[in-house]
Protein backbone atom coordinates (compact mmCIF):
# COMPACT_ATOMS: atom_id res chain seq x y z
CA UNK A 1 0.00 0.00 0.00
CA UNK A 2 1.52 3.21 -1.11
CA UNK A 3 -0.90 5.45 0.78
CA UNK A 4 0.44 6.88 3.96
CA UNK A 5 -1.94 7.85 6.72
CA UNK A 6 -1.45 11.33 7.87
CA UNK A 7 -3.95 11.16 10.69
CA UNK A 8 -4.28 9.22 13.89
CA UNK A 9 -7.63 7.51 14.36
CA UNK A 10 -9.82 9.19 16.97
CA UNK A 11 -11.92 7.21 19.40
CA UNK A 12 -14.74 6.31 17.04
CA UNK A 13 -16.81 4.62 19.73
CA UNK A 14 -16.93 7.86 21.71
CA UNK A 15 -18.02 9.84 18.65
CA UNK A 16 -20.65 7.23 17.88
CA UNK A 17 -22.03 7.50 21.43
CA UNK A 18 -22.30 11.27 21.03
CA UNK A 19 -24.08 10.85 17.70
CA UNK A 20 -26.58 8.42 19.21
CA UNK A 21 -27.20 10.77 22.13
CA UNK A 22 -27.85 13.65 19.73
CA UNK A 23 -30.14 11.42 17.70
CA UNK A 24 -32.15 10.52 20.81
CA UNK A 25 -32.53 14.21 21.68
CA UNK A 26 -33.58 15.09 18.13
CA UNK A 27 -36.19 12.33 18.28
CA UNK A 28 -37.50 13.05 21.78
CA UNK A 29 -37.64 16.85 21.43
CA UNK A 30 -40.48 16.90 18.89
CA UNK A 31 -42.16 13.90 20.60
CA UNK A 32 -42.27 15.57 24.02
CA UNK A 33 -43.04 19.13 22.91
CA UNK A 34 -44.99 18.76 19.68
CA UNK A 35 -46.75 22.10 20.23
CA UNK A 36 -43.60 24.16 20.59
CA UNK A 37 -42.46 24.94 17.08
CA UNK A 38 -39.12 26.40 18.17
CA UNK A 39 -38.16 23.28 20.12
CA UNK A 40 -39.25 21.02 17.26
CA UNK A 41 -37.25 22.98 14.71
CA UNK A 42 -34.21 23.42 16.94
CA UNK A 43 -34.00 19.80 18.03
CA UNK A 44 -34.87 18.37 14.62
CA UNK A 45 -32.87 20.60 12.30
CA UNK A 46 -30.28 22.16 14.62
CA UNK A 47 -29.13 18.75 15.80
CA UNK A 48 -29.23 17.42 12.24
CA UNK A 49 -26.66 20.05 11.30
CA UNK A 50 -24.48 19.20 14.31
CA UNK A 51 -24.70 15.48 13.56
CA UNK A 52 -23.86 16.03 9.91
CA UNK A 53 -20.84 18.15 10.83
CA UNK A 54 -19.63 15.49 13.27
CA UNK A 55 -19.96 12.72 10.69
CA UNK A 56 -18.30 14.80 8.00
CA UNK A 57 -15.38 15.94 10.12
CA UNK A 58 -14.72 12.84 12.24
CA UNK A 59 -15.87 9.92 10.07
CA UNK A 60 -15.12 11.37 6.65
CA UNK A 61 -11.92 12.88 8.11
CA UNK A 62 -12.59 16.29 6.70
CA UNK A 63 -11.01 17.71 9.86
CA UNK A 64 -7.62 16.41 8.71
CA UNK A 65 -8.28 16.68 4.98
CA UNK A 66 -6.61 19.26 2.76
CA UNK A 67 -8.45 22.61 2.72
CA UNK A 68 -9.19 22.26 -0.99
CA UNK A 69 -11.91 19.73 -0.15
CA UNK A 70 -13.52 22.23 2.20
CA UNK A 71 -13.58 24.78 -0.61
CA UNK A 72 -15.13 22.22 -2.92
CA UNK A 73 -17.91 21.37 -0.45
CA UNK A 74 -18.56 24.97 0.55
CA UNK A 75 -18.84 26.01 -3.10
CA UNK A 76 -21.52 23.37 -3.63
CA UNK A 77 -23.40 24.47 -0.52
CA UNK A 78 -23.20 28.15 -1.44
CA UNK A 79 -24.55 27.34 -4.92
CA UNK A 80 -27.49 25.60 -3.29
CA UNK A 81 -28.32 28.67 -1.24
CA UNK A 82 -28.02 30.86 -4.33
CA UNK A 83 -30.49 28.51 -5.99
CA UNK A 84 -32.84 28.76 -3.02
CA UNK A 85 -32.63 32.55 -2.84
CA UNK A 86 -33.23 32.89 -6.57
CA UNK A 87 -36.18 30.55 -6.85
CA UNK A 88 -37.97 30.84 -3.50
CA UNK A 89 -39.47 34.32 -4.01
CA UNK A 90 -41.23 33.27 -7.21
CA UNK A 91 -42.52 29.99 -5.82
CA UNK A 92 -43.59 31.32 -2.45
CA UNK A 93 -45.57 34.25 -3.86
CA UNK A 94 -49.13 33.36 -4.66
CA UNK A 95 -49.44 36.09 -7.27
CA UNK A 96 -47.34 38.48 -9.32
CA UNK A 97 -47.40 40.46 -12.53
CA UNK A 98 -50.27 39.05 -14.59
CA UNK A 99 -50.43 35.72 -12.80
CA UNK A 100 -52.12 34.10 -9.82
CA UNK A 101 -51.27 30.66 -8.47
CA UNK A 102 -54.85 30.17 -7.39
CA UNK A 103 -54.89 26.42 -7.13
CA UNK A 104 -51.92 26.40 -4.78
CA UNK A 105 -54.19 25.05 -2.05
CA UNK A 106 -54.79 21.92 -4.05
CA UNK A 107 -51.05 21.33 -4.17
CA UNK A 108 -50.84 21.95 -7.89
CA UNK A 109 -49.71 25.14 -9.48
CA UNK A 110 -52.01 26.05 -12.32
CA UNK A 111 -51.03 29.50 -13.44
CA UNK A 112 -53.93 31.53 -14.63
CA UNK A 113 -53.86 34.84 -16.39
CA UNK A 114 -55.95 37.59 -14.93
CA UNK A 115 -58.26 38.50 -17.76
CA UNK A 116 -61.51 40.36 -18.14
CA UNK A 117 -63.23 37.13 -18.97
CA UNK A 118 -66.83 38.32 -18.80
CA UNK A 119 -66.72 40.39 -21.96
CA UNK A 120 -64.90 38.36 -24.59
CA UNK A 121 -67.10 35.33 -25.21
CA UNK A 122 -70.26 37.34 -25.45
CA UNK A 123 -68.83 39.41 -28.21
CA UNK A 124 -67.60 36.43 -30.15
CA UNK A 125 -70.62 34.16 -29.81
CA UNK A 126 -73.64 36.37 -29.48
CA UNK A 127 -75.98 33.97 -31.26
CA UNK A 128 -75.70 31.29 -28.61
CA UNK A 129 -76.37 33.50 -25.65
CA UNK A 130 -79.92 34.19 -24.86
CA UNK A 131 -80.38 37.91 -24.48
CA UNK A 132 -82.59 37.53 -21.44
CA UNK A 133 -79.95 35.61 -19.47
CA UNK A 134 -77.03 37.63 -20.63
CA UNK A 135 -76.73 40.10 -17.82
CA UNK A 136 -78.37 38.75 -14.71
CA UNK A 137 -79.20 35.56 -12.91
CA UNK A 138 -82.55 36.69 -11.58
CA UNK A 139 -84.39 35.24 -14.56
CA UNK A 140 -84.94 31.84 -12.99
CA UNK A 141 -88.54 31.33 -14.06
CA UNK A 142 -87.79 32.24 -17.66
CA UNK A 143 -85.11 29.53 -18.07
CA UNK A 144 -87.18 26.80 -16.52
CA UNK A 145 -87.24 24.93 -19.79
CA UNK A 146 -83.72 23.59 -20.36
CA UNK A 147 -82.06 24.55 -23.58
CA UNK A 148 -80.82 21.24 -25.02
CA UNK A 149 -77.95 22.94 -26.79
CA UNK A 150 -76.78 24.60 -23.59
CA UNK A 151 -77.16 21.34 -21.65
CA UNK A 152 -75.08 19.47 -24.22
CA UNK A 153 -72.44 22.17 -24.09
CA UNK A 154 -72.44 21.98 -20.28
CA UNK A 155 -72.14 18.19 -20.37
CA UNK A 156 -69.04 18.47 -22.54
CA UNK A 157 -67.58 21.14 -20.25
CA UNK A 158 -68.28 18.92 -17.24
CA UNK A 159 -65.82 16.46 -18.79
CA UNK A 160 -63.20 18.85 -20.15
CA UNK A 161 -63.06 20.94 -16.96
CA UNK A 162 -62.65 17.64 -15.08
CA UNK A 163 -65.63 18.30 -12.79
CA UNK A 164 -66.56 14.61 -13.13
CA UNK A 165 -63.48 13.42 -11.24
CA UNK A 166 -64.98 14.71 -7.99
CA UNK A 167 -68.69 15.39 -8.57
CA UNK A 168 -70.72 12.24 -9.01
CA UNK A 169 -73.51 12.50 -11.60
CA UNK A 170 -74.52 8.86 -12.04
CA UNK A 171 -75.88 7.26 -8.85
CA UNK A 172 -74.28 3.98 -9.92
CA UNK A 173 -70.81 5.38 -10.69
CA UNK A 174 -68.93 6.97 -7.77
CA UNK A 175 -66.37 9.71 -8.38
CA UNK A 176 -63.22 8.36 -6.66
CA UNK A 177 -61.48 11.68 -6.01
CA UNK A 178 -64.72 13.17 -4.76
CA UNK A 179 -65.08 10.53 -2.06
CA UNK A 180 -61.87 11.74 -0.43
CA UNK A 181 -62.92 15.39 -0.50
CA UNK A 182 -66.55 14.58 0.26
CA UNK A 183 -67.45 16.66 -2.77
CA UNK A 184 -71.19 17.20 -3.17
CA UNK A 185 -72.72 14.77 -5.67
CA UNK A 186 -75.16 15.89 -8.36
CA UNK A 187 -77.56 12.99 -7.96
CA UNK A 188 -81.16 12.73 -6.83
CA UNK A 189 -83.20 15.84 -6.27
CA UNK A 190 -80.91 18.73 -5.37
CA UNK A 191 -81.64 21.75 -7.58
CA UNK A 192 -83.56 24.47 -5.79
CA UNK A 193 -82.97 22.79 -2.43
CA UNK A 194 -81.44 24.55 0.57
CA UNK A 195 -77.97 23.48 1.66
CA UNK A 196 -75.69 24.45 4.55
CA UNK A 197 -72.38 26.02 3.58
CA UNK A 198 -69.31 27.16 5.50
CA UNK A 199 -68.34 30.73 4.74
CA UNK A 200 -64.78 31.68 3.83
CA UNK A 201 -63.48 34.44 6.09
CA UNK A 202 -62.07 36.13 2.97
CA UNK A 203 -64.52 35.49 0.11
CA UNK A 204 -62.08 36.72 -2.53
CA UNK A 205 -59.19 34.52 -1.44
CA UNK A 206 -58.63 31.30 -3.37
CA UNK A 207 -57.60 29.71 -0.06
CA UNK A 208 -60.36 28.59 2.28
CA UNK A 209 -60.06 29.90 5.84
CA UNK A 210 -63.03 28.84 7.90
CA UNK A 211 -64.80 31.85 9.37
CA UNK A 212 -66.88 29.51 11.53
CA UNK A 213 -70.05 30.88 10.00
CA UNK A 214 -72.53 28.44 8.50
CA UNK A 215 -75.23 29.72 6.19
CA UNK A 216 -78.09 28.13 4.36
CA UNK A 217 -78.16 28.85 0.65
CA UNK A 218 -80.45 27.75 -2.16
CA UNK A 219 -78.91 25.63 -4.88
CA UNK A 220 -79.76 27.87 -7.79
CA UNK A 221 -78.00 29.27 -10.81
CA UNK A 222 -76.52 32.22 -8.92
CA UNK A 223 -75.03 30.05 -6.17
CA UNK A 224 -73.86 27.41 -8.64
CA UNK A 225 -72.08 29.91 -10.87
CA UNK A 226 -70.47 31.61 -7.90
CA UNK A 227 -69.18 28.24 -6.70
CA UNK A 228 -67.64 27.45 -10.08
CA UNK A 229 -65.89 30.80 -10.14
CA UNK A 230 -64.91 30.89 -6.46
CA UNK A 231 -65.13 27.31 -5.18
CA UNK A 232 -63.82 28.22 -1.78
CA UNK A 233 -66.07 31.21 -1.05
CA UNK A 234 -68.81 28.88 0.21
CA UNK A 235 -67.95 25.26 0.95
CA UNK A 236 -70.69 22.71 1.55
CA UNK A 237 -70.72 21.69 5.20
CA UNK A 238 -68.79 18.46 5.69
CA UNK A 239 -66.86 18.78 2.44
CA UNK A 240 -63.14 19.55 2.25
CA UNK A 241 -62.23 22.80 0.52
CA UNK A 242 -60.12 21.26 -2.21
CA UNK A 243 -61.69 22.41 -5.46
CA UNK A 244 -59.39 24.34 -7.74
CA UNK A 245 -60.93 27.40 -9.38
CA UNK A 246 -60.61 26.38 -13.01
CA UNK A 247 -60.85 29.30 -15.38
CA UNK A 248 -64.28 29.52 -16.99
CA UNK A 249 -66.15 32.19 -18.91
CA UNK A 250 -69.60 33.40 -17.91
CA UNK A 251 -71.09 31.50 -20.83
CA UNK A 252 -69.37 28.29 -19.84
CA UNK A 253 -70.65 28.65 -16.29
CA UNK A 254 -74.18 29.08 -17.62
CA UNK A 255 -73.84 25.97 -19.73
CA UNK A 256 -72.55 24.03 -16.73
CA UNK A 257 -75.43 25.30 -14.63
CA UNK A 258 -77.94 24.23 -17.27
CA UNK A 259 -76.40 20.76 -17.46
CA UNK A 260 -76.19 20.25 -13.69
CA UNK A 261 -79.73 21.51 -13.29
CA UNK A 262 -80.87 18.94 -15.83
CA UNK A 263 -79.36 16.20 -13.64
CA UNK A 264 -81.67 17.00 -10.75
CA UNK A 265 -84.66 14.69 -10.58
Amino acid sequence: MSEEHEHAHPDYWKIYKWLVLLFVISYLGPELFPEQKSIVLLTAFGIAVVKALMVVSEFMHLNVEKPVIWYLMLTCLILLFVFFAGVAPDVLNKSGNNWVADSATAGTYVIKKKEPEETKPEETKPEETKPKTADSNSTEPAVDKPDPKLVAQGKALFQTKICFTCHQTDPAVPAPAGLALKAPAFTGSFWGKEREVQINSDPDSPVFKDSGKVESVKMDEAYFMESVEKPNAKVVKGAIAGMAPLPTTLEERKALAAYVKSLSK
Binding site: V55, F59, M60, H61, I69, M73, T75, V87, A88, G107
Partner: protein, 203 residues
Protein backbone atom coordinates in the same frame (compact mmCIF):
# COMPACT_ATOMS: atom_id res chain seq x y z
CA UNK B 1 0.79 1.41 -25.98
CA UNK B 2 -0.53 -0.90 -23.32
CA UNK B 3 -3.40 0.28 -21.17
CA UNK B 4 -2.26 1.46 -17.80
CA UNK B 5 -5.01 1.51 -15.18
CA UNK B 6 -5.25 4.83 -13.37
CA UNK B 7 -3.34 4.83 -10.14
CA UNK B 8 -5.70 5.61 -7.28
CA UNK B 9 -2.92 5.99 -4.75
CA UNK B 10 -0.66 8.38 -6.63
CA UNK B 11 -0.83 12.00 -5.56
CA UNK B 12 -1.87 14.84 -7.76
CA UNK B 13 -1.31 18.57 -7.45
CA UNK B 14 -3.63 18.80 -4.46
CA UNK B 15 -1.53 16.35 -2.47
CA UNK B 16 -4.53 14.06 -2.09
CA UNK B 17 -4.49 10.49 -3.44
CA UNK B 18 -6.32 10.45 -6.76
CA UNK B 19 -8.89 7.90 -5.64
CA UNK B 20 -9.86 9.91 -2.60
CA UNK B 21 -10.02 13.16 -4.56
CA UNK B 22 -12.26 11.41 -7.08
CA UNK B 23 -14.54 10.27 -4.29
CA UNK B 24 -14.78 13.82 -2.97
CA UNK B 25 -15.81 14.95 -6.44
CA UNK B 26 -18.51 12.29 -6.42
CA UNK B 27 -19.68 13.56 -3.03
CA UNK B 28 -19.62 17.16 -4.30
CA UNK B 29 -21.92 16.25 -7.20
CA UNK B 30 -24.13 14.28 -4.84
CA UNK B 31 -24.38 17.34 -2.58
CA UNK B 32 -25.85 19.24 -5.49
CA UNK B 33 -28.21 16.40 -6.49
CA UNK B 34 -29.68 15.85 -3.02
CA UNK B 35 -29.23 19.48 -2.02
CA UNK B 36 -31.16 20.67 -5.08
CA UNK B 37 -33.95 18.24 -4.32
CA UNK B 38 -34.05 19.26 -0.66
CA UNK B 39 -34.01 22.96 -1.53
CA UNK B 40 -36.92 22.48 -3.96
CA UNK B 41 -38.82 20.63 -1.27
CA UNK B 42 -38.02 23.31 1.32
CA UNK B 43 -39.29 26.07 -0.94
CA UNK B 44 -42.58 24.28 -1.58
CA UNK B 45 -42.91 23.14 2.00
CA UNK B 46 -42.56 26.71 3.27
CA UNK B 47 -45.23 27.80 0.80
CA UNK B 48 -47.60 24.99 1.77
CA UNK B 49 -47.87 24.66 5.55
CA UNK B 50 -50.81 22.32 5.00
CA UNK B 51 -48.38 19.66 3.79
CA UNK B 52 -47.71 19.08 7.48
CA UNK B 53 -50.98 17.14 7.56
CA UNK B 54 -49.49 14.74 5.02
CA UNK B 55 -46.20 14.48 6.92
CA UNK B 56 -48.29 13.27 9.89
CA UNK B 57 -48.81 10.04 7.95
CA UNK B 58 -45.12 9.17 7.59
CA UNK B 59 -44.09 6.61 10.19
CA UNK B 60 -41.84 8.53 12.60
CA UNK B 61 -40.70 5.46 14.53
CA UNK B 62 -39.65 3.67 11.36
CA UNK B 63 -37.74 6.75 10.21
CA UNK B 64 -36.10 7.07 13.63
CA UNK B 65 -35.10 3.41 13.59
CA UNK B 66 -33.56 3.90 10.15
CA UNK B 67 -31.64 6.97 11.35
CA UNK B 68 -30.18 4.87 14.13
CA UNK B 69 -29.41 1.99 11.77
CA UNK B 70 -27.53 4.25 9.35
CA UNK B 71 -25.61 5.95 12.17
CA UNK B 72 -24.54 2.51 13.38
CA UNK B 73 -23.55 1.47 9.86
CA UNK B 74 -21.41 4.63 9.63
CA UNK B 75 -19.65 3.52 12.80
CA UNK B 76 -18.93 0.07 11.35
CA UNK B 77 -17.50 1.35 8.10
CA UNK B 78 -15.19 3.81 9.86
CA UNK B 79 -14.07 0.94 12.09
CA UNK B 80 -13.33 -1.07 8.96
CA UNK B 81 -11.12 1.78 7.78
CA UNK B 82 -9.31 1.82 11.14
CA UNK B 83 -8.78 -1.96 11.08
CA UNK B 84 -7.43 -1.86 7.55
CA UNK B 85 -4.90 0.76 8.59
CA UNK B 86 -3.89 -1.39 11.52
CA UNK B 87 -3.52 -4.37 9.21
CA UNK B 88 -6.36 -6.36 10.78
CA UNK B 89 -8.00 -7.33 7.53
CA UNK B 90 -10.31 -10.00 8.98
CA UNK B 91 -11.82 -7.54 11.39
CA UNK B 92 -12.15 -4.98 8.60
CA UNK B 93 -14.06 -7.47 6.44
CA UNK B 94 -16.32 -8.33 9.38
CA UNK B 95 -17.06 -4.63 9.96
CA UNK B 96 -17.87 -4.18 6.28
CA UNK B 97 -20.32 -7.10 6.41
CA UNK B 98 -21.95 -5.47 9.43
CA UNK B 99 -22.29 -2.27 7.40
CA UNK B 100 -23.98 -4.20 4.61
CA UNK B 101 -26.27 -5.86 7.16
CA UNK B 102 -27.29 -2.42 8.41
CA UNK B 103 -28.05 -1.40 4.83
CA UNK B 104 -30.26 -4.50 4.57
CA UNK B 105 -32.16 -3.60 7.73
CA UNK B 106 -32.58 -0.04 6.46
CA UNK B 107 -34.04 -1.28 3.18
CA UNK B 108 -36.39 -3.71 4.93
CA UNK B 109 -37.77 -0.93 7.14
CA UNK B 110 -38.11 1.31 4.08
CA UNK B 111 -39.99 -1.44 2.23
CA UNK B 112 -42.41 -1.76 5.13
CA UNK B 113 -42.92 2.02 5.15
CA UNK B 114 -43.52 2.26 1.41
CA UNK B 115 -45.98 -0.62 1.54
CA UNK B 116 -47.96 0.96 4.37
CA UNK B 117 -47.94 4.43 2.83
CA UNK B 118 -48.92 3.29 -0.64
CA UNK B 119 -51.72 1.21 0.84
CA UNK B 120 -53.02 4.18 2.82
CA UNK B 121 -52.79 6.43 -0.22
CA UNK B 122 -54.78 3.93 -2.26
CA UNK B 123 -57.62 3.66 0.25
CA UNK B 124 -57.73 7.37 1.20
CA UNK B 125 -57.04 6.75 4.84
CA UNK B 126 -58.27 9.53 7.14
CA UNK B 127 -56.22 10.72 10.10
CA UNK B 128 -58.04 9.74 13.33
CA UNK B 129 -57.53 13.12 15.02
CA UNK B 130 -57.52 15.76 12.32
CA UNK B 131 -59.76 13.92 9.84
CA UNK B 132 -57.29 14.91 7.16
CA UNK B 133 -57.33 12.52 4.23
CA UNK B 134 -53.98 11.23 3.03
CA UNK B 135 -53.10 12.23 -0.51
CA UNK B 136 -54.94 15.56 -0.53
CA UNK B 137 -51.63 17.24 -1.35
CA UNK B 138 -50.02 14.76 -3.75
CA UNK B 139 -46.97 16.93 -4.42
CA UNK B 140 -45.77 16.20 -0.88
CA UNK B 141 -45.80 12.49 -1.69
CA UNK B 142 -44.05 13.11 -5.00
CA UNK B 143 -41.22 14.77 -3.08
CA UNK B 144 -41.25 12.10 -0.38
CA UNK B 145 -40.97 9.16 -2.77
CA UNK B 146 -38.44 10.91 -5.01
CA UNK B 147 -36.13 11.93 -2.16
CA UNK B 148 -36.32 8.74 -0.10
CA UNK B 149 -36.37 6.56 -3.22
CA UNK B 150 -33.24 8.19 -4.62
CA UNK B 151 -31.63 7.81 -1.21
CA UNK B 152 -32.60 4.13 -1.03
CA UNK B 153 -30.96 3.60 -4.44
CA UNK B 154 -27.79 5.13 -2.99
CA UNK B 155 -28.00 2.71 -0.06
CA UNK B 156 -28.27 -0.24 -2.46
CA UNK B 157 -25.39 1.08 -4.58
CA UNK B 158 -23.25 1.77 -1.51
CA UNK B 159 -23.84 -1.70 -0.07
CA UNK B 160 -22.89 -3.28 -3.40
CA UNK B 161 -19.73 -1.16 -3.59
CA UNK B 162 -18.75 -2.07 -0.04
CA UNK B 163 -19.22 -5.76 -0.85
CA UNK B 164 -16.96 -5.47 -3.89
CA UNK B 165 -14.33 -3.64 -1.83
CA UNK B 166 -14.56 -6.29 0.90
CA UNK B 167 -13.69 -9.00 -1.62
CA UNK B 168 -10.50 -7.12 -2.43
CA UNK B 169 -9.68 -6.65 1.24
CA UNK B 170 -9.97 -10.42 1.79
CA UNK B 171 -7.17 -10.87 -0.73
CA UNK B 172 -5.26 -7.91 0.66
CA UNK B 173 -5.78 -5.85 -2.51
CA UNK B 174 -6.79 -2.20 -2.95
CA UNK B 175 -7.00 -1.53 0.75
CA UNK B 176 -7.24 2.25 0.18
CA UNK B 177 -10.71 1.65 -1.27
CA UNK B 178 -12.12 1.00 2.20
CA UNK B 179 -11.68 4.64 3.10
CA UNK B 180 -13.14 5.82 -0.22
CA UNK B 181 -16.21 3.58 0.13
CA UNK B 182 -16.50 4.90 3.68
CA UNK B 183 -16.55 8.53 2.55
CA UNK B 184 -19.39 7.70 0.19
CA UNK B 185 -21.25 5.74 2.85
CA UNK B 186 -20.99 8.53 5.42
CA UNK B 187 -22.42 10.91 2.86
CA UNK B 188 -25.44 8.62 2.39
CA UNK B 189 -25.83 8.69 6.17
CA UNK B 190 -25.63 12.50 6.27
CA UNK B 191 -28.34 12.80 3.60
CA UNK B 192 -30.65 10.67 5.71
CA UNK B 193 -29.87 12.81 8.77
CA UNK B 194 -31.53 15.68 6.86
CA UNK B 195 -34.31 13.71 5.16
CA UNK B 196 -35.52 12.39 8.51
CA UNK B 197 -36.50 15.74 10.09
CA UNK B 198 -37.70 17.13 6.75
CA UNK B 199 -40.20 14.37 5.96
CA UNK B 200 -40.93 12.80 9.33
CA UNK B 201 -40.53 15.32 12.15
CA UNK B 202 -41.76 18.61 10.67
CA UNK B 203 -45.55 18.38 10.68
Amino acid sequence: MAFVPPDATARNATGIPTGRLGMWWVVASEVVIFGGLIMCYLIHRLGNPEWGDEAAFTIVNAGALNTFVLLTSSYWIVRAHKHVNEGELDKAVRDMYLTIACAGVFLLVKTYEYGTEIHELMVNYAHPETGHIIGTYPVFWAFYFTATGLHALHVIGGAAAIYIVSRGVKKGENLQRVEYAGIYWHFVDVVWVFLFPLFYIAK
